[in-house]
Amino acid sequence: MNLYEYQAKELFKKYGISIPSGKHVASEKDLQWEKFPVVVKAQVLTGGRGKAGGIKFANDSKDLMEKGKDVLAMSIKGLKVRSLLLEEKLDIAKEYYVSVTLDRSTKRPIIIASTSGGVEIEDVPDSKIVKYWIDPTIGYSPFVGREVAFKLNLPPDESKQFQAILARMFSLYEGYDCELVEINPLVVLKNGKVLAGDAKVVVDSDSLFRHTDLSENPAERTDLEELAYKRGYALVELGGDIGVIANGAGLTMATLDGLTLKGLKPKNFLDLGGSDDVEKVVGAFQILKEAKIRAILINIFGGVTHCDTVANGIAEAKKRVGIGVPIVVRLSGVNEDIGRGILKEHGIEAYSDMMDAINEVVEVVK
């Protein structure tokens, strides 16, 4: 789960990581500030808000009110700005980069740091980046911060502050089950103080049961995805016109790939998951009913999910949901024959081979 900058900075505060003084503002009436100039920052879960005009400077109360309203009314990359972060304007001398994240390939946390901050880290040449993998047996210890700081060649006073910040970032990374804790830019002020200019924190959604202080943020979901999410389905909208229902993430992806290789454009990823429930099948159709599609392909390899259950679900959906497009079904595995029999009663001929079903979809949408 991505956190907004203001949420991430609240966590920074909790962990003792220096941040600029600031205020989170969700409505016009709170557009007030004492010491100008002030920075007005759109709170959106996407990068590049600066270029998109989501960061503005205000010089007095009137200016703040105007610019604040402007930014509150914006959408950035399709995402509506719902709130702002007002922050003191910083007297910036240098901008660094530092992050803690998971390196999937070594299964270790990795620290990435650079004295070239303020730009996307992907755009910084490798020679200017310091990487440090944390040994899971040894964990984080102050020497890690020293090694990174010396490799970055920081002056002593910056080094000390940097090490304190890095240690706290790592505590936050572990304490809140983060996937990413990133400060970009890590700012060195003209007076020598080091603090977090921006803050990006991604928390593992699966860990939220132990972080009850975090409420779930609305992610970047399309309307269809939001509908599916609310009803407990794993759906990803893809933009094509063939509705897909399958079971298992791998098989669902393979179904999409098969359609794509045949020149069709799938509308969605929808995984029934490891359930064996007629209503779960019916519900999937109810969601796809809201999508503009030309056909639906159901691809089931029966295991935990029995083929007869799916067949009953399809029959039920035909009755209750009223689907206006052709339905192509493939059933294989547990109770395949029973399922095929049930569908036959409802006028559907189920395939047992996945490719046959895909080819049939090609036919019906011709």
């Binding site: 998971l102 999937r104 390939s105 299964k107 992907e122 899971p136 047996t137 572990e174 089950d177 996937e179 593992d204 699966d206 860990s207 049961f209 132990r210 794993a234 990803v236 893809l238 399958a246 079971n247 298992g248 993430a249 791998g250 098989l251 669902t252 992806m253 393979a254 999409l256 790939d257 098969g258 359609l259 794509t260 290789l261 799938p266 990823f269 995984d271 490891g274 390899f301 029966g302 295991g303 935990v304 294989s332 595995g333 547990v334 081979d353 996945m354 490719m355």
Partner: protein, 288 residues
């Protein structure tokens, strides 16, 4: 002789009185696995389908389990895995999905230190027809044979195993690594075992988008693996930045694309199928 699980595998089911635990304990029994004990704190002394239930893993040691099937809820998986490792269980299979990845990292790091194996979380387990099934794969799709199968997914694995079986081939062991970003065993761990296994003549490797495990496996195959490998990679049509069902199936910051994986595998001499159904014919070719 198969890998990881065989007729000597004695399975403990942690959380045996839960829905998943009891259902799969019975399915494993039906397959022919030796399910020797279960745990469920407070329910010690009862039984599930003739399998004795104990309060703690320590108590269950009287049944001499050497592998465990963990199906407790996600918040309790770390504790269950620690309990199993503390009590000397060698193979830890975790069915549970949505385990926080830092918990998985702790489990994997501990297992490495203690010389234990972890399979999963969020995978279907391991099956060696017909000596032992540790996991949740459907019982009826297997035939004993010489193809080792490694996969990160569940149903797609069954699909491909089924294809292998109905096309007259058979499996030595089928391994589901799990769909999370961090799992215990990875492709290379499984390949190392298949390399040593006399029963295995070829390997089918089923991959998906996300991470670089397939690329690393390709590197390993190129330099260290002497048996033929065929592969199928799913997620070619997945858009970047979206999790495709599995927590681990995501293309992020340009990493983890199907193209990259297919390319790496082909460069390692692996024949890569376009559709799952092509796997058996590719296998027949490389096994000639």
């Amino acid at each position: 002789m198969s890998i990881l699980v065989n007729e000597d595998t004695r399975i403990l089911v942690q959380g045996i009185t839960g829905h998943q635990g009891s259902f799969n304990a019975i399915q494993m029994q039906k397959f022919g696995s030796k399910v020797v004990a279960g745990t469920s704190p407070g329910k010690g002394g009862t039984e599930v389908s003739g399998i004795p239930v104990y309060n703690t893993v320590r108590d269950a040691l009287v049944e001499k389990p050497n592998a465990t099937f963990i199906s407790v809820a996600a918040p309790y998986v770390l504790d269950a895995a620690k309990e199993a490792m503390y009590n000397g269980i060698d193979l830890i299979y975790i069915l549970t999905e949505k385990v926080p990845y830092q918990d998985t990292m702790k489990i994997v790091s501990l297992a490495n230190k203690l010389g234990k194996r972890v399979l999963g979380p969020n995978g279907p387990g391991a099956t060696s027809p017909f000596s032992c099934k540790l996991g949740i794969m459907p019982n009826q799709i297997f035939r004993k044979g010489n193809v080792g199968v490694i996969s990160r997914s569940g149903t797609l694995t069954y699909e491909i195993v089924n294809q292998i079986t109905i096309n007259g081939l058979g499996e030595s062991t089928v391994i589901g690594l799990g769909g999370d970003p961090v799992t215990g065993m990875n492709y290379i761990d499984a390949l190392e075992e298949f390399k040593k296994d006399e029963q295995t003549a070829a390997v089918a490797m089923v991959g998906e988008i996300g991470g670089t495990a397939e690329e690393e496996a390709a590197e390993y195959i190129k330099n260290n693996f002497n048996k033929p490998v065929v592969s199928y990679i799913t997620g070619r049509s997945a858009p970047p930045g979206k999790r495709m069902g599995h927590a681990g199936a995501i293309i992020s910051r340009g990493k983890g694309t199907a193209e990259s994986k297919v390319k790496a595998l082909e460069e390692a001499g692996v024949r890569v199928a376009s559709y799952p159904y092509e796997i058996p014919s590719l296998l027949k070719e490389v096994l000639k």
